[in-house]
């Protein structure tokens, strides 16, 4: 497929990197020469220098033959004009990153008028991701499938958990009451798809999938905190904080926001009447103590600086905040943060990039089995995706024990008539089922890719 990406920043780069590895023809339009040079050296894509909203530049990039046009510059207006121009030149599907608060309420009108097929808002997506994390405060990642009824949760194994230091085969019976499945294990930075003989060690990051209520029960059983978050402490009053606070306040959670810029504080007070807004430096430890950071269920650092966010979250955790989540945008920090005390990290840029990649993958396959969702887990080492089984799927009705799967691919869950089934040897696939597949090291674009034949 021919894909044009305008803007080679973090989002554009991540999208280009992932899609180029999936053998698409990628053209990146970017104005900055230094960015072009980096992309040219690192990725197998074509780079065009220039303003992505200009007709001449877009023509040079061959936009008239583009299947998917993605505008991800830092400026909403450029993205919108780029999409409009691309569409009128003949691009088939346009995606724009639109994040400004002023546009969000009229987004439907805007996208319709500008013929944008998909508008992506990184900040509101991040807010949604944080609010999912807050439901399982001990989890580092939470992704949802099947209209939110199935969850994939990543968390660290402790040495007092009943499932550590022995093989999963032996643990199996204790999981039968609330059917959940371990679907990926990250041990010392190496991710693998577990089987019966896999042993989970203390400190490993494990990923578990199951119905939402079963996951909750499992967490209760291992004594992890499933208590509802009652109050939240946020530093940095940017867009993510605003979107999130709106949701939290609606759900009855107390919110306190520390923001440095006084004018921002004023407008936050106008928008969020029931939140406590404090004007001050969120990285000032005296101020955090003064505002009783240790008493909060959840601490969120959402300022614009990754370093501040990490340090502040570490401090809050040290002071006794039950759960700390930090916003980290730079991809090379993610691995470092993994080894720290911070419970979870969110990265708006990665969330956006993966969101767009999911859309592209879904479009690729619109004729075969449809991909409903795709998440990258374990720092992008593995992928979890949901498909609908169609008539074109192979081996329908054959017991799974008679089918050879590709190594590194796990059929994690079958959802039949709304009931999740953890597949066993005698189960089989039927048309109309939803299935969730976890894969490491393979690009699964269609259900039939999971079979080893």
């Amino acid at each position: 497929m021919r894909i044009t990406i305008v803007g080679g920043g973090k989002v554009g780069y991540t999208i280009a990197e992932n899609l180029a590895n999936e053998k698409h023809d990628i053209t990146v339009v970017e104005a900055k020469a230094s960015v072009i040079e980096k992309i040219n050296e690192e990725l197998d894509v074509l780079c065009i220098k220039g303003n992505g909203a200009s007709v001449a530049v877009l023509k040079e990039a061959g936009v008239e033959k583009t299947d998917i046009f993605i505008a991800t510059t830092s400026r909403d207006e450029v993205n919108m004009i780029a999409c409009l121009t691309a569409k009128s030149l003949g691009a088939k599907y346009t995606i724009a990153r639109i994040r400004d608060f002023d546009y969000t309420d009229e987004i439907d009108l805007l996208t319709h008028e500008l013929k944008i097929d998909l508008a992506i808002n990184p900040e509101s997506a991040t807010a949604a991701s944080i609010s999912r994390l807050m439901r399982f405060p001990d989890a580092a990642d939470v992704e949802t499938f099947y209209h939110g009824r199935i969850e994939l949760v990543g968390f660290r194994a402790h040495d007092d958990d009943f499932f550590t230091e022995r093989s999963l085969g032996a643990v199996g019976e204790r999981l039968t009451n609330e059917p959940v499945l371990f679907c990926a294990v990250e041990h010392k930075g190496i991710t693998s798809i577990p089987n019966g003989s896999t042993v989970i060690h203390s400190g490993d990051k494990v990923y578990m999938i199951g119905a939402t209520e079963n996951i909750s029960k499992f967490f209760a059983k291992i004594g992890r905190n499933t208590r509802k978050v009652k109050n939240v402490f946020i530093i940095g009053g940017g867009r993510v904080a605003t979107y999130l606070s709106k949701q939290l306040i609606k759900a009855g959670t107390d919110v306190k926001i520390i923001e440095q810029n006084y004018d921002t504080c004023v407008s936050l007070t106008e928008m969020l009447p029931s939140a406590i807004i404090i004007s001050g430096d969120g990285t000032d430890q005296n101020l955090l103590d003064l505002e009783n950071v240790s008493k909060y269920d959840c601490f969120l650092s959402l300022t614009g600086r990754d370093e501040d966010n990490i340090i502040a979250a570490l401090y809050a955790k040290q002071q006794g905040a039950k759960n700390a989540i930090a916003k980290v945008n730079r991809q090379n920090y993610l691995r470092i943060v993994d080894s720290l005390e911070i419970d979870s990290i969110v990265s708006p840029k990665l969330i956006t990039a993966y969101g767009i990649i999911r859309t592209v993958r879904g479009m690729l396959n619109s004729h075969g089995s449809q991909m409903l969702s795709l998440y990258k887990i374990a720092d992008g080492e593995a992928e979890a995706m949901e498909f609908v089984v169609s008539r074109s799927t192979k081996h329908l009705g054959t017991p799974l024990k008679d089918i050879r799967m590709r190594p590194g691919v796990l059929l994690a869950l079958i959802i039949r008539n709304g009931v999740p089934i953890i597949p066993e040897g005698m189960d089989c696939l039927k048309a109309g089922d939803n299935i969730i597949v976890v894969s490491k090291g393979h690009q699964i674009l269609d259900i039939n890719d999971i079979y080893d034949d």
């Binding site: 053998k23 990628i26 053209t27 020469a33 050296e41 990725l43 197998d44 074509l46």
Partner: protein, 479 residues
């Protein structure tokens, strides 16, 4: 740069070379000649290449920028060192230094030879000589990239180092597709040339040899008198035209094929190149009309200019005794060389265009000291980095020319011979003047000179850095 990945590179190049060499074997089988030179060479290549490839295959290293340059340099050294084997086993060429010179001259598309009499060579051996031009012309790593799926390797560096010119642009998003398109156009043009030559009355074997040698802008011929040996005026015109065609940037052909003819014709490099060519033909024709008469003078001037500027090195006349002005024009053409992104050698017209523009900008700066100036090329502002790298390139090129000249002068030939030998080698042309003129050869030079000139050819073909970096100790350190 780990030795594992170097091993993998060397191994795969040796296997590929064995495959290329088998075409020579095939020729020898067809003409019922002695098969041993090729059988031995292919055997040695496979015996060494396969284990090396196996060892290196386990390496998971990726090509870095530095690693890319080392890989390119290494590839060409391996290619030349083993490409010399058939010549060594054949026996006509003498010692290994001669064979190495001949092989380097082939792969770098120079076309300088150490043989005074090439006609007794077997058909297989002559074909291998010509075919090395074809392999070296578009580049062996471009070929590797076109046929092997290397999606995850950051191999853009490799191609950058092998495709000549100040900047390298991909034609289409994917590198492997770019390589395939380049080779596709290369092969198609070559086949058209074979057809044209057949129509002009040249035999199939000779037409194939001349075509692959022209395609790579090489210059090894199958007759002692080069193209003059056919006494075929139509063929001379055909070859002249194709020499020009192969010295034009292939990206322009791609633009034309995709319907962007206007954009292709706007290329500043093309204008400069054509201007230079017309001026040179005009000057030489005028100067030699009183010797040959107008019709022949034009034919000789056209062919010689095409041959030199495309850095092919065929000849249809011995221009050793032309007036001095013609010699200077020919030396200038050698230096200028073909266009960037073609199969020709030389400094490349694109660089000269940039150099002249920089000069103009510099003068303008003296007139208006506070003026803000940029260098534009094809309507786009050039980055200062690109301009600076062109300036540096030209300086290093000059340094290398004079260093090589110093070493070659040890042999005691006259200045005209020495200078033209160095210029013809570093620009991958072929013949020079004096003792290395079109009717002469390089056999009289000493072993040292042959080695110096061999490396000059490699430096010229790979545009300096890949060879220089091979001899830089810090490039081989692990960090």
């Amino acid at each position: 740069m780990s030795f594992q990945i170097a091993g993998k590179t060397a191994g795969s190049i040796m296997i590929l070379e064995a495959a290329c060499m088998s075409t020579g074997l095939l020729m020898s089988i067809i003409y019922g000649e002695d098969l041993r030179p090729f059988l031995y060479s292919i055997g040695i290549l496979l015996l060494l290449g396969l284990p090396l490839y196996k060892i290196g295959k386990r390496s998971k290293d990726k090509y870095s920028v530095k690693g890319g340059f080392i890989t390119v340099g290494l590839t060409w050294l391996v290619l030349s060192a083993f490409g010399a084997l058939p010549f060594l086993f054949d026996g006509h060429f003498g010692n290994y230094i001669n064979c190495f010179f001949e092989a380097v001259s082939g792969f770098t598309t120079t076309g300088s030879t150490v043989l005074s009499d090439i006609e007794p060579l077997s058909k297989g051996m002559l074909w291998w000589r010509s075919f090395t031009h074809f392999i070296g012309g578009m580049g062996v790593l471009v070929l590797v990239n076109a046929i092997l799926p290397t999606a995850k390797d950051k191999s853009h560096h490799l191609l950058k180092a092998e495709i000549p010119g100040p900047t390298s642009d991909k034609l289409v998003p994917k590198l492997s597709d770019t390589s395939k398109i380049l080779y596709g156009m290369y092969i198609a043009l070559t086949l058209i040339m074979v057809l044209c030559l057949l129509l002009s009355g040249i035999g199939l074997y000779d037409a194939l040899n001349i075509s692959v040698a022209t395609a790579g802008t090489g210059g090894f011929a199958v007759k002692n008198l080069s193209i003059a040996g056919y006494y075929n005026i139509a063929a001379e015109y055909i070859i002249s035209i194709f020499m020009f065609l192969f010295s034009i940037n292939f990206a322009l052909y791609f633009l034309m094929l995709t319907g962007k003819v206007k954009q292709a014709l706007k290329s500043e490099e093309l204008h400069f190149f054509l201007g230079l060519v017309f001026a040179a033909i005009l000057v030489i024709t005028i100067k030699i009309t009183n010797i040959y008469g107008l019709a022949d003078a034009f034919r000789y001037a056209l062919f010689t200019v095409a041959s030199v500027v495309s850095t092919t090195g065929f000849s249809n006349i011995d221009y050793n005794n032309w007036p001095a002005l013609c010699e200077v024009v020919i030396i200038i053409l050698m230096l200028c060389g073909a266009c960037a992104g073609s199969t020709g050698g030389g400094v490349k017209s694109a660089r000269l265009v940039i150099l002249f523009k920089t000069l103009r900008q510099e003068v303008a700066q003296y007139i208006h000291p506070r003026a803000v100036n940029v260098v534009r090329y094809d309507g786009k502002v050039l980055q200062e980095k690109t301009v600076n790298s062109v300036l540096r390139f030209f300086f290093i090129y000059t340094v290398i020319v004079f260093s090589a000249l110093l070493l070659v002068s040890l042999d005691g030939f006259d200045f005209r011979t020495n200078f033209s030998a160095v210029m013809t080698c570093i620009n991958n042309v072929g013949p020079g003047f004096g003792a290395v003129g079109p009717a002469e050869n390089f056999s009289a030079l000493s072993g040292l000179s042959k080695i110096v000139l061999s490396f000059s050819m490699l430096i010229g073909r790979l545009e300096i850095y890949p060879i220089i970096i091979l001899f830089t100790p810090s490039a081989w350190r692990k960090d």
